[in-house]
């Protein structure tokens, strides 16, 4: 089946609409969709200083590259923030550094080793009874928020796409966690809290497959590698189930997202004041307890 717009050779068939597109029309479709998301949900405001959480993967390069179009037109200021967890032979940021240098984007790198005195490799040895993803996730989110405040970002853009979000929605549903779902959406959080820099997800309505195709065509320097500590068992099961369902019933993931978007305002309203957060007595970051989880882990590391 040729491209629906020009009859050229197609590079992708969109699963939810049975439309095939050539390279040129796919790029147009993809960027238009991302820009529409940005417009519809007011993800960017003129003069915003936006940080992009850059991992060196296809999603974050895609976000950075599309937001660059806005900074080139002086709509926003754009910088990138990368977290170096210290995972030997996995976390490789030299491609991110080269990309930012070439595109004249300021890149900040924050390292676990500098902040917590331990790289992830060392933490794993210390925390033998814990799943690496559990504490790594806490530390990564901590540094992303800390860095966003330090570098005075108005918002932090992440590479979360339609697949990631539909998995999260289902996981929260299966685990009876509607309060966690209330924090999802193209712009995160249930209320404005200056201690939290809000996260925006420009790729909210594009699929992982579309993002991979975009990244391939654009030639972003992405290499496939698997984190040696990856163990997201539950998410993997939900993802596999959703992919299976999607191939049998095309459009499933889009339906999950579209119906979620309809109920999200009432979810946010419902959970607006359910949990007033205090500030961590050690570091000042928002927390529901006396000390935040990152400081709890740091205490354990010191023992």
């Amino acid at each position: 089946m040729p491209c629906n717009n020009c009859l050229k050779k197609p590079v992708i068939k969109l699963t939810n609409s049975n439309v095939s597109l050539c390279k040129k029309h796919f790029i147009h479709y993809f960027e238009k969709k991302v820009k529409k998301t940005i417009r519809m949900f007011n993800l960017l405001e003129k003069g915003d200083k936006i940080g992009v959480a850059l991992s060196g993967g296809k999603d974050s390069f895609t976000v950075l590259s599309i937001l660059k179009q806005f900074s080139d037109k002086n709509v926003i200021q754009l910088e990138a923030l990368a977290i170096d967890e210290g995972i030997k032979s996995y976390r490789e940021l030299s491609n991110a550094e080269k990309f930012c240098k070439k595109n004249k984007i300021k890149l900040h790198i924050l390292r676990y080793e500098d902040f917590f005195n331990y790289s992830l490799d060392k933490m794993v040895k210390k925390f033998r009874n814990k799943t690496p993803c559990s504490f790594c996730g806490v530390f990564r989110r901590y540094l992303l928020n800390h860095g966003s405040k330090k570098f005075k970002f108005d918002k932090l853009a992440t590479g979360h796409n339609l697949d990631d979000e539909s998995q999260s929605i289902l996981m929260n549903q299966f685990r009876n966690n509607p309060e966690v779902s209330a924090r999802l959406g193209p712009i995160t959080g249930v209320m404005i809290d200056e201690r939290f820099i809000r996260r925006i997800k420009p790729l909210y309505f594009v699929t992982e497959k579309e993002t991979t195709a975009y990244s391939f065509i654009k030639g972003f320097p992405v290499e496939y590698s698997e984190c040696p500590y990856a163990s997201f068992g539950y998410r993997n099961s939900v993802r596999d189930m959703l992919n299976e369902f999607e191939s049998k019933y095309p459009g499933t993931r889009h339906s999950i997202i579209n119906s979620f978007i309809k109920i999200l305002p009432s979810l946010k309203e419902q959970f607006k004041e359910s949990k007033a957060l205090s500030s961590c007595k050690l570091c000042g970051e928002p927390t529901s307890k006396e000390t935040c989880q990152a400081c709890e882990y740091i205490k354990e590391l010191k023992n």
Binding site: P10, T15, S20, K23, E208, S225, C227
Partner: protein, 64 residues
């Protein structure tokens, strides 16, 4: 037989097939989880393949 590189498993295999779709069926790979390149150009499942083509199945799922 066309040579097929499966990125996620980092291995090459040879598969007797005349279309990409047939390759995916034979390798039991869900088309949702890969994009396909033929001689370094992206193609859809409908693309025909010949003996000399180099096919790559690139994982859409990130590694963690």
């Amino acid at each position: 037989m066309p040579k097929v590189f499966i990125e996620r498993e980092n291995k090459h295999v040879e598969v007797k097939a005349s279309t990409v779709k047939e390759i995916l069926i034979k390798l039991k790979i869900n088309p949702e989880v890969v994009i396909i390149s033929k001689n370094n150009e992206l193609v859809t499942e409908d693309a025909k393949v010949s003996e000399t083509d180099e096919i790559k199945l690139l994982s859409v799922i990130s590694g963690g």
